[in-house]
Symmetry: C2
C-alpha cells in the first residue's frame, strides 16, 4: 500500500518572516531577549516544479548555508511532520532572504527553527482540515513550547515569535514568557567575522557559581528591565553588567573588550554581548553610526573584519502569510 499523501495540498505557499533577537542582555542570562527590526524571510512553495527539496539563500549566509534537507528550516519542518505522522509534500521549495547575519549572536538559527515549526504547523493544520489555513489559527504558544524543546532554551525564540522585550522562565515542566512593555529603543549591533560557536560559548562557563555572582545578576537584571521600561539611561548604564557569562566569553573574542570600550567612549549608554556572541549590542540614544564605526575599528585593530547595524527594537514578532 502506498504511503498516504495529501494531494493537492490546500496550501500552496507559506511565507514566514522572523526578526533577529538578542538574548541575555547582560545580567538577564538565559532569561531575557529582545526582538530587533532585522528579518529573515522564508518562503516555502509546494506547488509545481520538480519533486524533492530545493533551497535557495540570498543575503546573509548565501555562501555557507546548506541547500538541502540539512538546512535548519527544512530539517525542522520535516522532523515535525514526521513526529505527527504527516507525509511531507512531494515538492518543497524554500527560498530564504536573510538579513540576519549567521552565527552572530542575533538569533539566525532561532529564526530558521521558528520558520520551520510554523511551516510544519500550517501543513499539519492543512492536512488535518483539508482546507486553507489562516495565520491566526497557528497556536503560537505551542510553536514556542516546541521551539524551546528544539533550541534548548527560549531567550531567542520567544522574542522571535512574540516580539518586544521578553522575560522567559520555567514553571514546573512548562516554559513561560512575559513581555515587558518598553518605549521605542534603538541599538547598535556590531558583529566581527569570528567563528564563536554557541557550544563553545557554553563550554566556557564554569560548572557552578557563587551566591554573590547570582545575586549580582538578580539585582542587575531586574534593573535592566526597569531601565529599559522607564528609559532611564543612567540606570541602564549601571545595570547592564553581568557576572555569570560575559567574563568567560569576551576574552575568547579578539577585540571584544576594546570594541565595548570604544562604543562607550563614543557615547553608548551600555554594551553587552549579544546572546553568546560574537556580536556586541550597544544601547545608545545618539551617534549610532559613530558608535558602530568605533566598534568596527576596534575589531579591525585586532585583525578582525566587523560590520555594524543600527536597529530598532521590534514590537512585533513572527509574521506569517499563507497562500
Amino acid at each position: 500500500m502506498p504511503e498516504a499523501t495529501v494531494a493537492p495540498w490546500p496550501v500552496s505557499s507559506v511565507r514566514v518572516r522572523v526578526p533577529a533577537t538578542s538574548a541575555n542582555l547582560g545580567p538577564g542570562f538565559d532569561s531575557m531577549g529582545i526582538a530587533l527590526d532585522l528579518w529573515n524571510d522564508f518562503e516555502l512553495d509546494m506547488d509545481g516544479g520538480e519533486p524533492g527539496v530545493s533551497v535557495s539563500v540570498i543575503g546573509e549566509g548565501e555562501l555557507t548555508l546548506p541547500r538541502d534537507r540539512s538546512h535548519l528550516t527544512i530539517g525542522t519542518l520535516l522532523d515535525e511532520l514526521a513526529r505527527h505522522g504527516i507525509p511531507a509534500p512531494e515538492r518543497l521549495s524554500l527560498r530564504c532572504r536573510n538579513d540576519i547575519p549567521s552565527a552572530s549572536g542575533l538569533g539566525s538559527s532561532s529564526s530558521a527553527v521558528v520558520a520551520g515549526l510554523i511551516m510544519a504547523t500550517v501543513l499539519r493544520l492543512a492536512a488535518t482540515t483539508g482546507r486553507r489555513v489562516r495565520p491566526h489559527e497557528i497556536e503560537l504558544h505551542d510553536v514556542l513550547a516546541r521551539a524551546v524543546e528544539v533550541e534548548g532554551h527560549g531567550d531567542n525564540v520567544t522574542p522571535a515569535i512574540y516580539g518586544g522585550l521578553q522575560v522567559v522562565y520555567t514553571h514546573g515542566d512548562h516554559y513561560r514568557n512575559r513581555a515587558i512593555p518598553i518605549p521605542p529603543t534603538k541599538v547598535v549591533v556590531c558583529v566581527p567575522d569570528f567563528l564563536y560557536l554557541t557550544s563553545q560559548a557554553r563550554a566556557a562557563l564554569p560548572a557552578s557559581i557563587s551566591h554573590a555572582d547570582a545575586v549580582f545578576n538578580i539585582g542587575h537584571a531586574m534593573l535592566v528591565a526597569e531601565a529599559l521600561r522607564s528609559q532611564d539611561d543612567a540606570l541602564l548604564s549601571d545595570a547592564l553588567r553581568d557576572a555569570l557569562h560575559e567574563q568567560y566569553r569576551l576574552p575568547s573574542i579578539p577585540g571584544a573588550f576594546d570594541a565595548r570600550q570604544a562604543a562607550l567612549d563614543a557615547s553608548a549608554i551600555a554594551v553587552c554581548l549579544s546572546g553568546a556572541g560574537p556580536g556586541l549590542l550597544a544601547f545608545a540614544r545618539k551617534e549610532h553610526d559613530t558608535i558602530g564605526e568605533a566598534m568596527v575599528a576596534a575589531f579591525r585593530r585586532h585583525r578582525l573584519n566587523a560590520r555594524y547595524w543600527v536597529l530598532s527594537a521590534s514590537t512585533g514578532g513572527v509574521r506569517v502569510d499563507i497562500v
Copy 2:
C-alpha cells in the same frame, strides 16, 4: 586635660521611626526588599536626668532586648560617634516603642541600626555646626552606605530608609539602590515563635549553586518586580518562586510548608519567606484575616505559637524629628 565635650548640646531630642521591611521576596534573594507599614519608634533624649545610658522598651522585645549599651541602637550610635571622634553626650536616654517583632524576618535589627546611624548623624552635625539640625540635612545615602557596612547587606536597610519596593545592587565598591514604583499593595505576615537566627539561615545555604538555579531566580525576580508594578496577580503567583534559599531554610522552620500551603488555600496569591524567616509573607487581594488565621493554625499544628499582621506596603521610609 579633660576630654572635649559638647555642652549644652544644640539638640535635646531625636526621634526616629523606622518601618518594618521584608527582604528577598522569593527570587529577589539579597537583591530586593519592601517597606511595610509597621514601625519601630526610637526616641533619644540628651537633656536632664542622670548621666549615663538608659534604655526603655515598650512593645515587641520588651522582655528580651537589652537595656544598656548592648542595645543595637545605642551601640551603633556610640560606635559611630567614636568613629568620628565625637564625644558621646553625658546622658543618653533611649525610649523604644516597638511594633516590629524581633528576630522575625521583618527587619527589626535593621530598624535599630538605621535609628542609631541617624541619631549619630544628627549628633555629629550638631557637634560640627553648634546648632540645631534639620532632618533634611541628613544625607540618607551616607546613612545607607554605612548601614550596609554595619548590616553586611542592604535589602532590609534600603527600604527601611527610603520606603517602597527597592532593588539593591553593587557597583564596583559602591552600593546602590533603585525604587520600583508599585501601586498600593497589602500583605499578610505570619511569624511563628521560633528562634531561627539569620546566621543559621545563612549557614543553611550551599557554598555554590548551579547556573540553572541562578537563571531560575534571574527570570523570576524580574517578573516579581513586573508583577508588583503592574498588579498582575497571575504573574505574581507564577513568579514568586525561588531556587536559591527557601528550599534550604523552610525545612528548618516547623510548619512553614504547611503554613505556606494554608495561605495559598485561603486565597493568597503567592507566599515567600520574609527575609531569612522565620516569618512568612503572603500577598493577597482579599481575605487577609482568613489567610493570617490559616497560617497561624498551620503553625499551631506543628506546636508553634504564631501571630499575624495585615500590612500595607509603606511608600515612606524612615521619619526623623529633631528637637
